[in-house]
């Protein structure tokens, strides 16, 4: 079973196994290449010895023998190194959290907690909208009150105006003057009637 080492991949940007494979293949290629260079050099040297019985096939057999041996050790040593690298270098210990995931440590919200938070935000938004429209209604009433108060004050000013007219014409208390006026007119009517009777 392959452990995908996903968390390590999230950090390194490549899977550790791929990295190891890349190193393995590169190392192996170098081993083969240098072996081929060795064989080429030896063959070239042999050509400079005329009459030498050592044939290319023989050298190839020697190369294969040495390479087989090296490859066997190479694989053993490499798998040891790979094991150590995957354990010590290309690994993120269990207790370690990557910086981009810090938020999960600070806010380990469950689905329900998250939903509750969103519900609370929606509730606050509703409440705010309600308050805002209430505020508008209140301010609208304040404007309306200004108009109404102005109207009522105007009416009061009418009354004040009336009283000022009375005061200007000597009648401080309207009621009394009205009574006085009524009495006076009654008297005048009486006098008028007397005059009329006498004149008859």
């Amino acid at each position: 079973s392959v452990t995908p080492m996903a968390y390590e991949t999230q950090f390194f940007g490549f899977t550790p196994q791929t990295c190891m494979l890349r190193i393995y293949i590169a190392f192996q290629d170098y081993l083969f290449e240098t072996m081929l260079v060795v064989e080429g050099v030896i063959l070239k040297k042999l050509r400079s010895f005329p009459g030498c019985e050592i044939g290319a096939l023989q050298i190839r057999k020697s190369t294969e023998k040495f390479l087989f041996f090296m490859k066997d050790h190479f694989d053993k040593l490499f798998s040891k190194m790979e094991e150590m690298l995957l354990q010590l270098v290309l690994t993120i210990p269990e207790n370690v959290l990557l910086p981009e995931d810090k938020v999960h440590e600070q806010y380990p919200y469950t689905k329900d907690e998250f939903q509750a938070l969103q519900d609370e935000i929606n509730r606050l938004q509703q409440q705010y909208r309600a308050e805002a429209s209430a505020g508008q209604a209140l301010r609208a009433e304040l404007e309306e009150q200004k108009v109404v108060q102005a109207e009522l004050e105007k009416i009061l000013q009418c009354f004040d105006g009336l009283e000022n007219i009375c005061r200007e014409h000597g009648t401080g208390n309207f009621k009394e003057s009205l009574v006085f006026l009524t009495q006076n007119s009654k008297k005048l009517q009486g006098v008028l009637r007397d005059v009329e009777e006498k004149s008859k």
């Binding site: 999230q10 990295c19 190193i23 919200y109």
Partner: protein, 156 residues
Amino acid sequence: GRAQVLATLVDTFLEKLVAAGSYQRFANCYRCFYRLQPEMTRSIYDQFISQLQASIKEEIQEIKNEGNLEMLFHSLDKIVEEAKNRQEPAWRPSGIPEEDVRSAIVPYLLKHRSYLQKILKEKEEENRKVAQSVLEGRNKIAELQQLIQARKHAWQ
């Protein structure tokens, strides 16, 4: 640090590989050539080993450059160092993206929530004041109406 461990592991690997592929072993495999030219065999072997070591070290350097490994190793060492007081296993992706992204949004939702709480409080405070003036205004209007009623009755 990790970079050091990598270098040590590669050096060890090379040491052991060279130890396994010793000159004796090499000479033994190329016995026919060795008998003919022992010094030449030695120098070819030495070149073989130094070439192999150089190529492998070069490859490691190339991979480190390519993957920016020095920097990554250094920062991972720091991250691990910072977490050394934690024993319990840390969070890991759940494999359900919408769940994992949730926590990433939470801090901003919390900020949003406290912002809403703040402006709601301000708005409520503001409305309380306006409501107060509305009530005062209503009382004032009631007073004016009473006053007008009284004046009107008086006239009547």
